[in-house]
Symmetry: C2
Subunit: 248 residues, 2 copies
DNA sequence: CCGAAACCGTACCGGCGGTACAGTATACCG
DNA sequence: CGGTATACTGTACCGCCGGTACGGTTTCGG
C-alpha cells in the first residue's frame, strides 16, 4: 500500500505543476503518465476520472497551505509576545517562504481554479470557497488580537484588512508570473506588512523619504532571509508528510 | 466592412467571457460559433486559428483597461488640484467601476493568461508583461507626484506601492470569484486607498476604532457610488468605441 | 502459496481543433 | 449593369486526446 501512495503523490505533483502552467483542460493525461512513467491504465487505477484528480489535488494543496500558515504564525508567536510584533515577524517569514523557490512560484491552485470554474463541479468550488474563508477568518482573528493592545489609526473594517493579505499574495503571484520576476511576491507581502505597521503603530515614525528613487530595485533582505529561513525551518515538522512544500 | 467588424466583436466578446469562465483550452470554437450564430467557416474567416483569437482578444482587453484608467485618473484630476486628493478620488471611482457589474466581475484576462501561460506564444506573453509594466509605471508616476507635496510616513519603495494596486485588484477579483461576492473588489480597492491615505496623510488622524466589529459587512458606499458613477460617466467618451466596458 | 494491490496492454468510441475547398449572398463601385 | 471584394455557408475529412472496458501480469505481505 506504500508504493501506490508514492505513485499517486508523483501523479499529483506532476499534474499540479501542469495545471498551474497550462490550465486544467490543457493538462493531458497522456502527458502526465509519460512524465510519471506509468500507463494510462495505471492512472485510471488511482483516479477514476480527471475530476477526481482535481478534487484530490485541491485537497492536497489546501492542506499544504494550511501547514505553511501554521508554521509561520507559530514561529511569530514564539519570537514575540506582542501580537503586532508576532504578526510582523510572521509576515516577514511568509515573504521569505513564498519567494524561496528555485524557478519562481508555480502559482496558486485556488486562483487557477477560479479562472476555470466552469470546468469543475460544486464540490471543488465549495472547497475553494471554504478554504479562502478559513484563511481570511484566521487573519481577521490575528488583527482583532492586535487591536486589543494597539488601537488602529484608521477606521477600516478588519475583514477587509484580513482579506487584503490573500489578495496581495494572489495578485503578486500573478504579477510575478506575468513579469517573470519572483521577487515581486516577497516585496508585496512586505508592502502589506508596511500597511499593518502604519495601521497599528502608535508612534508616528516619520522617517526620511526617498522622493525620486526611480532606480533599480535592490535586494535588502538577504541577511534577514537567511535568518528567517533558519528560524522557520528549525521548528517545522520533522518530515513524513510531504505536505509542507510551499504556500499559495 | 462594418458588418464584418460587428461579427468579429461579437465573437471576441463571447470568447472572452468563455475564456474567463472556463479557461482557454476548454473554450470550444463550436460553442462560440453556436452562441454567435455563425458557422465554423465564418469563425476561421475572421481568425486564422485559436492563437490569433487569443492575441486579438488580449489587445482588445488591454485597450479597454487603459481607457478605464484614463477616465478614472482624468476625473480625479478634474475634481482636485492636490495630487493626493485626486488619486484618492480616482481610487474611489475605480472601486465603483470595478463593482458596477450585474453578474460580478468576469475576471482579468491577464491573470487568466498567466495561469495558462504554456498555451500561448511569446507574443501574447510579451503583451501581458508590457501591459502590467505600463500600468505599474503609471501608478508609480502618480505616487512620485504625490510625494512632492506629501512626504510619506514610511520608507517603503514606491514601486512596490504602485505594484500593490494591480495586485490588490487582481487578488480581489479572484476572491470575488471564489466567494461569489462581487463587493470584495470594491472593498479591497478602498482598503488600498486607506493605505495610501495612511502613507501620505500629514495629520495623524487617530479616530475611534471598532475593536470587535465581527458582524455583517455593511454597504457604506451607496450614496458615494451614485455620485461617483455620475461623475465618471459624465466625461467618458461619447460612444463609438465599444472599448470602454470594464477594467481588469 | 494465495490473494490483494498495483499496475500493463490493447482496443475502441466520441468529441473537438483544424484544414480544405466549393459555393452563395450582399454591397459597393465603376 | 456587371464585376469584384466582403462576409460568410456547407460539407467532408484528418488527427489527437479523454475516457471506457477489460483481460493479463507482477509484486508483496500474510
Amino acid at each position: 500500500m506504500r508504493k501506490g501512495d508514492e505513485t499517486r503523490e508523483r501523479i499529483l505533483e506532476i499534474a499540479e505543476m501542469s495545471v498551474l502552467a497550462k490550465g486544467f483542460a490543457a493538462t493531458w493525461i497522456e502527458e502526465i503518465i509519460a512524465e510519471a512513467g506509468i500507463t494510462k491504465s495505471g492512472f485510471f487505477y488511482h483516479f477514476k476520472d480527471k475530476n477526481e484528480l482535481a478534487h484530490i489535488m485541491l485537497k492536497r494543496y489546501v492542506c499544504a497551505n494550511d501547514r505553511v500558515f501554521d508554521d509561520v504564525i507559530e514561529r511569530g508567536h514564539q519570537l514575540s509576545d506582542d501580537p503586532l510584533q508576532a504578526f510582523l515577524i510572521s509576515l516577514k517569514l511568509l515573504a521569505e517562504v513564498m519567494s524561496d523557490l528555485p524557478n519562481g512560484h508555480p502559482g496558486c491552485l485556488i486562483a487557477c481554479i477560479c479562472y476555470q470554474e466552469r470546468q469543475f463541479d460544486r464540490e471543488v468550488l465549495n472547497l475553494t470557497a471554504r478554504s479562502v474563508e478559513a484563511w481570511n477568518a484566521r487573519f481577521r482573528a490575528i488583527l482583532d488580537n492586535i487591536a486589543l493592545e494597539h488601537p488602529p489609526r484608521d477606521p477600516i473594517d478588519f475583514d477587509d484588512v484580513a482579506d487584503m493579505l490573500s489578495c496581495v499574495v494572489d495578485g503578486s503571484i500573478i504579477m510575478s508570473k506575468a513579469l517573470n520576476d519572483p521577487s515581486r511576491i516577497e516585496r508585496q507581502v512586505m508592502a502589506f506588512r508596511s500597511f499593518i505597521k502604519l495601521l497599528f503603530s502608535s508612534t508616528p515614525q516619520i522617517r526620511v523619504p526617498m522622493p525620486n528613487s526611480t532606480g533599480a530595485r535592490e535586494r535588502s533582505t538577504d541577511r534577514a532571509r537567511a535568518y528567517a529561513s533558519t528560524v522557520l525551518i528549525k521548528n517545522s515538522r520533522p518530515s513524513g508528510s510531504t505536505c509542507v512544500r510551499r504556500s499559495w
